[in-house]
């Protein structure tokens, strides 16, 4: 009887942990072939997990594999070893379409190079994830978000008509459109000057606090990393320690 009770408690705890774990990686590795035919390990034996509402920074120098790790955790690329779980689903069991469906409306992204679509206006770029998620009132919500990031007057501007800082603010608005459960940010200040970068970080954390998204942020900037709840250090494709 006691055993059964213990078993039930363990199951409940495991389930509760699964429910609270938004991202996890087990023995994750990525190996690629170099132009001269050799095999190169970009990532190896990564074990980590990020819980709901947590803000985690992955800190490391250039070429340490941190962006590759973000791509794998978000299901934008596939590992050569190990498993990734995102929002309670094992990505290895999902095909490309199912991974996309999992992201739709629940996962937001901010990239170092903004990745706005050049043919679309600021408003269209922000409305895009809402339209993909088939949510109603996409344009109205997008407009609100753009106002929130201070671009209410630039709705119809195309990316090439905006400065780098402004483009990243559009990207932030797009990332938070639809109130995502998880937000992946890849060096969001990497292409910006110190002032613009600072403003983006303030906006990013401000929006995250309002929406309550889990945040996984990749950076080489210790100051930015310090704003997160937890910092994972990565070097030469391996996680060093946690703080």
């Amino acid at each position: 009887m006691a055993c059964e009770t213990m078993g039930a408690i363990e199951t409940t705890i495991k389930k509760a942990m699964e429910e609270t774990t938004r991202i996890s990686a087990t023995q994750l590795g990525k190996r690629v072939k170099t132009p001269d035919g050799r095999m190169l390990d970009i990532l190896s034996a990564i074990d980590m997990q990020v819980n709901a509402g947590e803000a985690v920074a992955i800190l490391g120098p250039s070429g340490s594999g941190k962006s590759t790790l973000l791509g794998l955790l978000a299901g934008l690329d596939q590992p050569t070893q190990g498993r990734v779980s995102l929002l309670g689903r094992d990505l290895g069991e999902l095909d490309e379409d199912a991974r996309a469906a999992l992201r739709a409306g629940r996962v937001g992204f901010v990239f170092q190079s903004f990745q706005l679509l050049p043919g679309m206006s600021a408003l269209e770029n922000v409305a895009l994830p809402l339209q993909i998620g088939r949510k109603s009132g996409a344009r109205a919500q997008a407009e609100l978000l753009l106002r929130e990031v201070g671009l209410g007057e630039r709705l119809s501007h195309q990316p090439r008509q905006l400065s780098g800082g402004e483009q990243q603010r559009v990207a932030l608005a797009r990332a938070f459109a639809g109130d995502p459960d998880v937000l992946f940010a890849d060096e969001p200040t990497g292409n910006l000057d110190a002032d613009s970068g600072q403003r983006i970080i303030e906006l990013l954390f401000g929006l995250r606090d309002r929406v309550g998204s889990t945040l996984l942020l990749v950076t080489h900037d210790q100051e930015v990393a310090r704003r997160c709840d937890r910092v994972l250090r990565i070097n030469a494709g391996r996680l060093q320690d946690a703080s």
Partner: protein, 825 residues
């Protein structure tokens, strides 16, 4: 930088650029298609000319009233030409007790130089000139004379000849449709010994020559200054109107098909360059930042482009050579052993064409590379100032029209194509603008279809470029796929199965009724009787007609010859009035002439000129009230000059008719000969079948050439889809990152390309219908018609094919992990 050009490493790296690869493929296919067509068309055309030559039994013929000088034979010999002489004259032969008027033709070996002579002898079929002492008789001559082949003897002047065979086929028999008397063929030597070639006899001496085009041209030049007034020089270009028309049409079909293929390939080059330049701008900006001048950057890319074009042109020429050989193998039976070896010219043409196409279609776009601002290194969105889109197309079109003219040497065809091309581009661009305006509101919507349609509105320049590419591709394909069939059908239909295959000549006024009654009784389809007489043109207005006053050989010949003048109140159905007006019932009572436009052009006859003819000593004059074109290959009764019935009243006219006789023609011919001894029956079936053969082979050749157009069209479609590949790759990656499903993206792409295909196909159907109609009427002198199937093909095939191409272009992008694309910049 230049020293690295020759290294393999440089090219390995350069050819990783998809734009350059596409450019290489476009030039390769353009040149391969063009040279295949050029090689093949060159050989087919030469074979067709040879076939035409077969109907003259030679490539070049001189005809005159005097003996052919020995010096001419020596000259022909020294030029390496094969030559033979022939003599023809009317005479009376006697076999048994029966005298009969015949047209004697004396030939020497190796007659015929082209074509085939076919004689039935008791020992079997033979094909060369008769031996001395032997004579060959036309079938109807044997019927009339009642001779036994192999044994009976015939008296011709002072010689006695043995009737040795029946003349079945004589290649140059059709030369004069109005030859009255039956043919007797003898050896050249017997004619000289017959004692019939006195100064008063109506003897025509002919000198036949055959060889390659260069030899013939040299001989023609040499002969030109030595021909006396009244001598005629005939080659395929100025002889045999019915054949010339057929050949000219066949040549135009081939040229048109070749032009369509090369134009499509040109558009592919233009699209490929655009992609190459888009990618080159980034590296150009970096090079400029490092201190390279704009001109040096441009030189570097230009050099790279030219090297690629050179290699692709040479490789394309070789593929073209192989391609046409495959065609020859597939179609070998067509021409038997007659297809000439390909000449080296198409390789040169391919090289020049490749280089000119690259310059015309690629250079205007490439110029941007030299003007890229170095600041692009910091702000990638900064574009280089380039020529306006319309100017790029205009320059390309101008170069193409120049090349086209050079290739076909046909002002009308080149001009027509140029105009059609301009209109097509303008229509496509306007339609594109309208489409963009119509799609703008869709950018607000969020559905799958709206996503695809909004994509069109997002990249207006790309959309216009793609629409122009797809639209032009489908238009040219439709033109060749549907309109070609229509034109070929109409062409072949102009010579129906029951086209007249016999002519009745020299019907007298008092025989008309009985003859028509006999034809009606035997149910022989016929053209009715046409009044005709022979006359010589003596004056045009105040100007006396003298052959030596003309420089052009055809004009000299026309000025010297006697015409068969026709007289009719109605115009023949296959004639078309090109200037002036055909006479009405009232005007038919007044004297007037209508002249065939080619003759009018050669002799300088204009509307309103008073023509004077000498008809057996009687002088008649009348004004020219219309100029006509004549479909000589219809085999209807046609005349260069037709007069009103009023003119014929006082003249000695005979009548002629054309008939269609089927397999019983032998017995019908015999019956006609018995009942109407003065009437001659002329069998034109050999020429008719020759013209039919040219039509069939011409049509088949065009089908083969069409294959290359298909390949070029596929390339254009691919290139048009590839133009937006970079933008599309990024868009797909971002959309997938944001959670768009594969099905949704494919749906959007199918909608986007499907709409482009639908509009391209719809416009193409309109454009191809109109240009097809104009091509038939203006270029081929055939009745124009609109084909309903063009709409089904245009829209029904255009939409799914372009959608499929879009899907194929995107499918591979979907397989790439989004991270890979996003990391690339």
């Amino acid at each position: 930088m230049n020293e690295g050009w020759l290294s393999m490493a440089h090219w390995r790296s350069a050819l990783r650029d998809p734009g350059l690869r596409l450019l290489l493929a476009s030039v390769l296919v353009a040149v391969a298609a063009l040279t295949s067509v050029a090689f093949f068309a060159d050989r087919v055309e030469r074979a067709l000319l040879l076939q035409g030559a077969a109907l003259m039994a030679a490539d070049l013929v001189v005809e005159q009233g005097e003996v052919i000088p020995q010096a001419w034979l020596d000259k022909a010999d020294s030029l390496g030409l094969r030559s033979a002489r022939s003599i023809s004259f009317p005479s009376v032969i006697v076999a048994g007790e029966r005298p009969l008027l015949v047209q004697v033709k004396a030939v020497e070996s190796p007659y015929p130089l082209r074509g085939r002579l076919r004689i039935d002898t008791p020992d079997g079929e033979v094909g060369q000139a008769p031996a001395p002492g032997e004579a060959w008789l036309e079938g109807r001559l044997r019927n009339r004379l009642d001779v036994d082949i192999g044994t009976s003897e015939i008296q011709l002047g002072e010689t006695r000849l043995r009737a040795a065979g029946i003349l079945r086929d004589e290649p140059d028999r059709g030369g004069n449709l109005f030859q009255l008397a039956p043919r007797l063929m003898i050896s050249y030597r017997d004619a000289l010994q017959s004692g019939l070639l006195g100064p008063a006899s109506r003897v025509k001496y002919r000198f036949l020559m055959a060889g390659d085009a260069g030899q013939i041209a040299s001989m023609r030049t040499w002969l030109a200054s030595r021909l006396k007034p009244g001598s005629g020089l005939a080659d395929l270009e100025n002889a045999r109107p019915e054949l010339r028309t057929a050949l000219e049409r066949a040549r135009r079909f081939l040229s048109l098909a070749a032009l369509c293929a090369s134009l499509l390939a040109g558009v592919a080059i233009l699209l490929a360059t655009r992609r190459y330049v888009d990618r080159a701008l980034d590296s150009a900006a970096v090079l400029r930042t490092l201190g390279m001048t704009g001109a040096a950057v441009l030189r570097w890319h230009l050099g790279q482009l030219l090297a690629v074009v050179l290699v692709a042109s040479l490789a394309g020429s070789l593929i073209g050579l192989a391609g046409q050989q495959v065609l020859v193998l597939v179609l070998g039976d067509w021409f038997g052993e007659a297809l000439p070896v390909p000449g080296p010219r198409p390789v040169l043409v391919g090289l020049l064409f490749g280089l000119s196409m690259a310059l015309g279609f690629a250079l205007p776009t490439l110029l941007k590379v030299g003007r890229v601002p170095p600041l692009r290194v910091l702000r990638r969105e900064l574009d280089a100032p380039g020529l306006a889109g319309w100017l790029v197309w205009l320059l390309a079109a101008a170069v193409f029209v120049g090349l086209m003219y050079w290739q076909v040497q046909d002002q009308r065809l080149a001009g027509g194509m140029a105009l059609a091309l301009m209109v097509t581009l303008i229509v496509l661009m306007l339609a594109g603008r309208l489409l963009l305006a119509a799609l703008a509101p869709l950018r607000r919507a969020g559905g799958t279809a709206a996503m695809g349609l909004a994509a069109l509105a997002r990249y207006p320049q790309l959309t216009l470029l793609q629409l122009a590419g797809f639209g032009l591709g489908i238009t040219l394909l439709l033109l060749l796929a549907v309109v070609r069939v229509d034109i070929v059908d109409t062409w072949q239909g102009s010579l129906p199965k029951d086209a007249p295959n016999h002519f009745l000549i020299n019907v007298q006024a008092d025989e008309r009724e009985a003859l028509m009654a006999l034809l009606a009784e035997r149910r022989v389809p016929n053209s009715g009787l046409h009044a005709t007489t022979r006359g010589r043109l003596t004056a045009i207005g105040e100007r006396i007609v003298r052959p030596e006053a003309y420089t052009e050989m055809r004009a000299r010949r026309l000025a010297a010859r006697e015409y068969s003048l026709g007289f009719s109140a109605e115009m023949q159905a296959d004639n078309r009035v090109q200037a002036g007006r055909w006479w009405n019932a009232e005007e038919a009572g007044q004297p007037a002439f209508s002249v065939e436009e080619g003759v009018a052009r050669s002799l300088g006859i204009r509307l309103g000129d008073i023509l004077t003819f000498d008809v057996a000593g009687q002088i008649i004059s009348a004004p020219v009230t219309s100029l006509r074109s004549v479909a000589w290959d219809s085999f209807n009764v046609n005349f260069f000059v037709v007069g009103t019935p009023a003119l014929a009243r006082e003249l000695p006219v005979a009548y002629l008719s054309s008939l269609f006789l089927d397999r019983d023609s032998e017995s019908m011919t015999l019956e006609l000969a018995e009942r109407f001894p003065a009437v001659s029956v002329l069998d034109v079936r050999p020429i008719l079948s020759q013209v039919r053969e040219i039509m069939e082979r011409g049509a088949l050749a065009v089908e083969m050439v069409f294959l290359f157009t298909l390949i070029a069209a596929a390339l254009v479609t691919f290139a048009a889809a590839q133009v937006s590949r970079d933008e599309r790759a990024r868009e797909v990656a971002v959309m997938r990152t944001l959670g768009a499903s594969r099905g949704r993206l494919i749906g959007a792409v199918l909608t986007e390309f499907g709409l482009l295909g639908f509009i391209g196909g719809l416009l193409a159907a309109v454009l191809a219908s109109v240009s097809g109609y104009l091509i038939a009427v203006e270029l081929f002198d055939l009745p124009g018609r609109f084909s309903p199937s063009i709409w089904w093909f245009g829209i029904g095939v255009g939409t799914p094919v372009v959608a499929l191409v879009g899907w194929l272009a995107t499918r591979r992008l979907l397989a790439v992990p989004p991270m890979q694309v996003l990391n690339s910049g």
